[in-house]
């Protein structure tokens, strides 16, 4: 027994050590105390927004660390660039002679001028192989692989984080199945000891119950609809959806026009005026921001006429806003690309318009940089010039405007869309501007404090509760959509589009992707055969078939479990009836225990 005692005490000691280490690690988390305060004052919905923001800061930091260690660091410490093959003209855009101060500001804001030929943009990394004493570092390969790596890493991290939310969401589909019981019996948080918190909880429970009752009522109404009414509703929905599509098409077209106009204005050597130039530079960003401001208002008006259930209304409007936000970036890139490939004589000699765009990747990097900067400026400006005055007006002025506008509520979905939009730009832009993740880290870092201050000073707690468990799933789901949308331009430009011959690490290759086959052909033949087998169609098809089989098996298992549960539930109902008669006690107990174990 002394052996057993020793084992038990070691086990206990290890467990306590594990708890201590875990506690120490959580204490190291960034902004832990701030988030704790926010949770106490505003609840778990807003808490998940801020922890989502913290997650993005960490993600961007890791992406930048990757880029820095594999791309920037070799170039910085390289003794000198050993260029294997120089081919072309890349006129420097740095300003010559006496430079006026505001031109520096213009350069800083637009990423041009003195910023253009720095580590900030793709064009500066004009090195093919860096020769260190002992080894040769293949920079283009590193650049390409780091891009793939950061996209992959983001995917894995997001999926891992959303795995918890997804599990909870599956249970919650059961929750739709007993939503009233959950609210009555598990709705009140017994930890509440503060009168204000109690009042808040009560009003949020009341709101949730009323919403649920409303849902039931609408479900009943939908079930009671006559065929005539159904046709009318469907017709209205079709018309309104067409209207929404028309509005979206208008917005996208205006983004296209604005981009083309801005590009041509930038090519124009005649500089009009500092302010006008800046507006020309930022025209696409301005149009995108305006469109993203007007369309949500429009969507929330349109949805009222479409007569859906309240929960579906919220989700559908949100989906439309997400689509609008993320596709506008795609439209911008598409219009840029169409302008870059338009030459005087079709088809273009170099694959792109080398006269206007000697280094088109840097151009795209600049546009992404401008979008990021403008996004940040808008967030700061809205906080300072809209939210603070609103609070002052509501607090001190007793007019009708104050009553109608009301105190600010922290609108979680819109804020989440804002930062997902910024993150999508970062993912796309990191390929063209390796330092963009660092800029985004700093940007989100400041946004955290700005939003926190605005929340504490201006906002009142939401009257509509936003459930934390499903909101985590929502945030990460939207982020995943942003990631998949970000992959498309990157993949297209890596695989399809001819890279610039005048700048960047890929000067010796037609497309950026070519680095990989070239590098593989230099590997030993055994490794080559292995890689070719893994990427061949036979392997891909069999892998796909195996995955499908596994999925079907799991789905079949779930279906079988559901059937068993249904049967046992019917048995339980029968037991209840049989309980009225005596003499069946042992059988009843046995069935009850069996059911309890199964469920």
């Amino acid at each position: 027994t002394s052996w057993r005692q020793w084992r038990q005490s070691t086990h206990r000691y290890l467990r306590r050590l594990q708890d201590d280490v875990h506690e120490w690690l959580t204490a190291l988390q960034l902004w832990r105390s701030d988030i704790h305060i926010i949770e106490g004052m505003f609840g778990t919905g807003i808490l998940s927004y801020f922890s989502f923001l913290r997650f993005l800061v960490m993600l961007n930091l890791i992406i930048f660390t990757l880029m820095f260690s594999f791309v920037l660091l070799p170039i910085i410490i390289a003794p000198h660039f050993m260029l294997v093959f120089i081919c072309s003209v890349y006129p420097t855009s740095a300003r010559q002679g006496l430079v006026i101060f505001h031109e520096h500001i213009a350069d800083l804001l637009s990423g041009g001028g003195f910023l253009e030929q720095t580590y900030l943009f793709y064009g500066y990394y004009k090195a093919d192989k860096i020769h260190f004493p002992g080894t040769t570092y293949n920079l283009p390969l590193a650049y390409l692989l780091v891009t793939v790596a950061y996209l992959f890493l983001s995917l894995i991290w997001i999926v891992k984080r959303s795995a918890n939310g997804f599990k909870r969401n599956l249970v919650q589909d059961e929750d739709r199945f007993q939503s009233f019981c959950n609210k009555i019996f598990a709705g009140w948080d017994f930890c509440i000891s503060n009168m204000n918190a109690a009042k808040l909880k009560r009003s949020s429970l009341l709101y949730e119950l009323r919403t649920d009752l409303e849902e039931e009522r609408i479900k009943q109404k939908i079930a009671d609809r006559t065929r005539e009414e159904k046709c009318r509703i469907y017709l209205i929905r079709v018309i309104l959806n067409l209207f929404v599509i028309a509005v979206l098409a208008c917005c996208f077209y205006s983004i296209y026009i604005a981009t083309i106009f801005s590009q041509e204005a930038q090519m124009n050597e005649v500089k009009v005026n500092f302010i006008v130039d800046l507006i020309h530079q930022y025209l696409p960003s301005i149009v995108i921001t305006l469109a993203n401001f007007i369309t949500p208002l429009l969507f929330s008006v349109v949805i009222n006429y479409e007569d859906y259930s309240p929960a579906f209304e919220i989700r559908f409007t949100l989906m439309r806003c997400v689509f609008m936000r993320l596709t506008s970036i795609g439209v911008l890139l598409f219009s840029l690309w169409s302008h870059i490939t338009k030459c005087k004589e079709e088809p273009c000699v170099c694959g792109y318009n080398h006269v206007l765009y000697s280094c088109w990747e840097t151009r795209i990097g600049q546009e992404m940089y401008k979008l990021t900067v403008f996004d940040f400026i808008i967030i700061v400006a809205v906080t300072i010039f809209v939210e603070f005055p609103r609070k002052l007006i509501v607090k001190y002025c007793d007019c009708g405007l104050a009553k109608w506008w009301g105190q600010q509520e922290f609108a979680i979905p819109q804020n989440v869309l804002e930062i997902v939009y910024g993150q999508t730009i970062c993912w796309i832009g990191a390929f063209y501007s390796p330092m963009l993740p660092a800029i985004c880290t700093i940007k989100y870092f400041f946004i955290f404090y700005i939003k926190k201050v605005s929340l504490m000073k201006n906002c009142r707690p939401a009257t509509r509760p936003f459930r934390a468990s499903s909101s985590n799933f929502f945030f990460l789901g939207v982020l995943l959509i942003g990631l998949s949308l970000a992959c498309v331009p990157v993949i297209v430009s890596v695989a399809q589009i001819n890279c610039s011959q005048a700048c960047g690490p890929f000067v010796n290759y037609t497309t950026s992707w070519e680095v990989l086959p070239t590098a593989i052909s230099q590997l030993p033949s055994g490794v080559q055969t292995l890689l070719f087998t893994v990427s061949s169609e036979a392997f891909a098809v069999s892998f796909f078939v195996v995955t499908c089989l596994a999925m079907f098996y799991v789905i079949a298992l779930a279906g079988a479990h559901k059937r068993v549960i249904k049967q046992l539930r019917e048995q339980l109902a029968m037991v209840g009836i049989l309980n009225l008669f005596e003499g069946c006690q042992p059988w009843c107990n046995f069935t009850l225990r069996k059911i309890h174990l199964m469920l």
Binding site: R12, D19, E23, R168, V171, Q172, E174, D175, F177, Q178, S179, F180, C181, N182, I184, F185, A186, G187, W188, D189, F190, C191, I192, S193, N194, M195, A197, A198, R202, L205, L206, L209, R210, L213, E216, S469, R569, L572, A573, V575, G576, I577, N579, L592, H596, L599
Partner: protein, 193 residues
């Protein structure tokens, strides 16, 4: 309350194996008795002796206990205290006081919490949650801000959702089955002391 405040001796850690045989549970409290005793004593310093070796028979009335800061804002405070008292009137001895906070602590297992939650919500103590119990629960939760029709509808829907044996009221088996599917139950049915 952080992890530092509840210090468990090794024996108490081992005593957490609770075997549920019937609704009346015999177990050792999850807290060190001396700390909770301090709280019990300060509720009525002149009634509660400091020395428990002679096992005195002293009970505190309901009115004193529901004024504790942890229970003050809880809509079910009266029912909570009544369910843990032996006489059903809410007069708690020190052991019952410890039992109450143990069941409501985060260390108590789900089955135990479900048993006591059922007792708490059973206002007329008939071992079933009938419609009147549900209506009383709902009114306490919302401080009677729902209209009577809304209350009726909600209670009907709740019974519809959880009632498995079709007798229009919730037995303990129904309740336990329902509560095992409630994702928030463990985190909400919890008092920090």
């Amino acid at each position: 309350m952080g992890n530092k405040q509840t210090i468990f001796t090794d024996e108490q850690l081992d005593a957490y194996q609770v075997i549920l045989t019937k609704p009346i549970v015999v177990f050792v409290g999850f807290f060190s008795p001396s700390r909770l005793h301090g709280r019990y004593h300060e509720l009525a310093p002149h009634l509660v002796p400091m020395d428990y070796t002679k096992d005195p028979d002293c009970k505190l009335p309901l009115a004193l206990i529901v004024n504790m800061p942890e229970l003050k804002e809880n809509p079910f405070r009266n029912r909570i205290v009544e369910s843990f008292s032996e006489d059903g009137m809410g007069n708690l001895s020190f052991n019952e006081f410890v039992d109450m906070f143990s069941v409501l602590s985060e260390m108590a297992p789900r089955e135990l919490k479900a048993i006591y939650a059922f007792k708490i919500y059973d206002f007329n103590v008939d071992n079933y949650l009938c419609k009147e119990d549900l209506e009383k629960t709902l009114n306490k939760l919302t401080k009677e801000e729902l209209t009577p029709e809304e209350v009726q509808l909600v209670c009907e829907k709740a019974i519809e959702e959880a009632d498995l044996d079709g007798d229009n009221k919730l037995s303990f088996a129904d309740f336990e089955n329902m509560i095992s599917r409630a994702p928030d139950f463990l985190s909400t049915f919890h008092i920090r002391i």
